[in-house]
């Protein structure tokens, strides 16, 4: 069934979109990731204009992270104070990101920037996950091998403007928190992702937050940042496609439930290696397209945008 997307102005198969939403939903349910970093490139591949893909994906992430954070709120695993400070940074970052996006759209370089960001971040994250999960599998074969204790970065402790975060049992400077929030906000606006895949490691390794509150707090921040990003894209770039978002949502919601169930049956290390391979695959395809001479060197953009 073909469906005409009013903002993207292309006609695509509705079942393909539901399927994509479902597929990424399964992955996000299995691996506990938002899935934006996989969905946005997939939308590029099926011919959705990158500007629309990025803005619409931000809208879809609002839904999936809201659904996730409700569960975490019930379990009381959200540090609201930490989330709010991250959020302040995030909103500033998002506003900057949307402006950068708009300027680059006018210069005709936005596709390049978005794709480069993807290649760099997917490459780094994919490689790290691959190495880490290979190590984990090796460790599990050699029982008794010592697990390295987690290091807390001391420079974070030395910064001024300290705040107490009761839920995270931390007394740290608000500067690194704001900076992490801002970095994730910029990425959210440019890449159309929630940024959880960057924020979660940053919260654990830089801030030293306890793992149990990390996911809920990052989801809490992501809702507001992606919501704000959606609003900024909608009012400045007119690139949020509600029909596209809705179709992806329906697939994503169903997929997430299936994924959560599948995830329980598989081993964590094997899951992570699968995810790493997939991330590297998407990264490789994007990099390949940038390096190999395209069959059409010219492209048409409307003058006004």
């Amino acid at each position: 069934m073909q469906i005409y997307l009013p903002i993207a102005e292309v006609s695509v198969n509705a079942f393909l979109l539901l399927g994509l939403g479902g597929l990424v939903g399964i992955l996000s349910g299995m691996f506990g990731v938002g899935g934006g970093f996989l969905m946005t490139p997939l939308l590029f591949f099926i011919g959705i204009p990158p500007a629309v893909a990025v803005a619409t994906e931000a809208n879809q992430i609002v839904a999936s992270s809201f659904s996730g954070v409700l569960a975490h709120l019930r379990r009381k695993t959200v540090d609201l104070k930490m989330g709010t400070v991250l959020l302040v940074g995030g909103l500033i970052g998002s506003a900057i990101g949307v402006q950068v996006f708009r300027i680059l759209t006018e210069l005709g370089q936005v596709d390049l920037l978005v794709k480069l960001c993807y290649v760099v971040f997917l490459g780094i994250i994919g490689a790290l996950m691959f190495v880490e999960s290979l190590g984990a599998i090796r460790r599990s074969r050699k029982p008794g091998a010592p697990v390295k204790p987690r290091k807390h970065h001391s420079w974070v402790q030395g910064l001024p403007f300290k705040m107490r975060f009761r839920q995270s049992q931390l007394y740290i400077s608000s500067i690194p928190v704001l900076l992490i929030g801002a970095a994730v906000g910029i990425l959210a606006a440019i890449m159309g992702v929630g940024g959880g895949f960057i924020m979660v490691p940053a919260m654990i390794y830089i801030l030293g937050m306890p793992t149990k509150v990390v996911v809920g707090t990052s989801l809490f921040q992501i809702i507001f940042v992606t919501g704000f990003t959606t609003l900024m894209h909608a009012t400045q770039n007119f690139t949020v496609d509600a029909v596209l978002a809705l179709l992806l949502l329906i697939g994503g919601v169903i997929g997430a439930q299936i994924g959560a169930r599948l995830g329980v049956r598989l081993k964590a290390e094997q899951l992570r290696i699968l995810l790493a391979i997939m991330v590297l695959g998407v990264c490789g395809k994007l990099a390949f397209d940038l390096i190999v001479q395209p069959s059409e060197l010219y492209s048409i953009g409307s003058a006004g945008h």
Partner: protein, 255 residues
């Protein structure tokens, strides 16, 4: 005296005949609605030659040219070049006027049945429909950019040229069909029908097809552009509602 008249008539006649050949045309539809399940459309174009005298025998054969032209747009064409190993948009040219859609159907090869000057005068043909005036000075080959517009849009099914696609019967009735692809732009699409004799246009008529988003699509598009803030808030509200429903459904299923 009679001989003079006869000679005069012989001169006037073809012109007079030509002038008395008028084209009457119609379309299968004057309105194309882009709705949610819009997947392209086909327009059937037909017409007849109206004459007050018999079909002239002593001048060249009758040809028909039909063009359908979408709204004119200003577009920016960009060219990629390899910079530090990756392909980056570098040069760009602004094309002042390029129709969003352009279809030509004829009874014979376009350049054979119509002269260059007539094509220029009536703006018939891809090369005549695209205008580049303000090409940036530092680009050496602005023509390659206009050629790229034609090439890319031909690939997308937006520009089509179908020689001998018009079925002309007894030099009087003609018909053809033109495909409108799914990736249409809204606006007024001008359909022009030309009668051609001896490489010159002898008669022409014009009708318009209105292409517009309709129903739900129209509503979303208008709101996204005219009430962007409300649209953004609504998008988020829908997302939050969906997230809430998903979370509740999840809980019910787990019980």
């Amino acid at each position: 005296m009679i001989r003079v008249l006869a000679i005069l008539l012989a001169f006037v006649a073809p012109v007079a005949f030509a002038a008395t050949e008028e084209v009457v045309g119609a379309l299968s539809q004057n309105k194309v609605s882009i709705t949610a399940n819009f997947d392209g459309s086909e327009i059937f174009i037909f017409g007849a030659v109206k004459r007050t005298a018999p079909i002239p025998e002593d001048i060249g054969p009758l040809h028909v040219v039909i063009t359908v032209q979408g709204p004119r747009q200003e577009v920016t064409v960009r060219r990629k070049e390899r910079v530090l190993g990756i392909w980056v948009n570098t040069d760009s040219v602004t094309v002042d006027e390029a129709p969003a859609y352009y279809a030509i159907a004829t009874t014979g090869p376009l350049t054979k049945i119509l002269s260059e000057t007539e094509r220029l005068r009536h703006g018939i043909g891809f090369d005549k429909a695209i205008r580049t005036v303000g090409a940036r000075a530092d680009v050496e080959d602005p023509e390659s950019f206009t050629e790229a517009v034609v090439r890319i849009r031909q690939k997308n099914g937006l520009y089509t040229e179908a020689d001998s696609a018009i079925n002309l019967r007894e030099d009087t009735l003609f018909a053809t069909s033109v495909a409108l692809p799914a990736n249409l732009v809204e606006g007024s699409y001008t359909t022009r029908m030309y009668l051609v004799r001896e490489r010159a246009v002898v008669g022409t008529t014009e009708t318009a097809i209105t292409v517009q988003k309709d129903g739900f699509e129209r509503w979303i598009y208008t709101m996204a552009h005219e009430q962007a803030l409300l649209y953004g808030i609504l998008s988020i509200a829908v997302a939050l509602a969906a997230g809430y429903i998903a979370s509740e459904a999840f809980r019910l299923l787990r019980r």
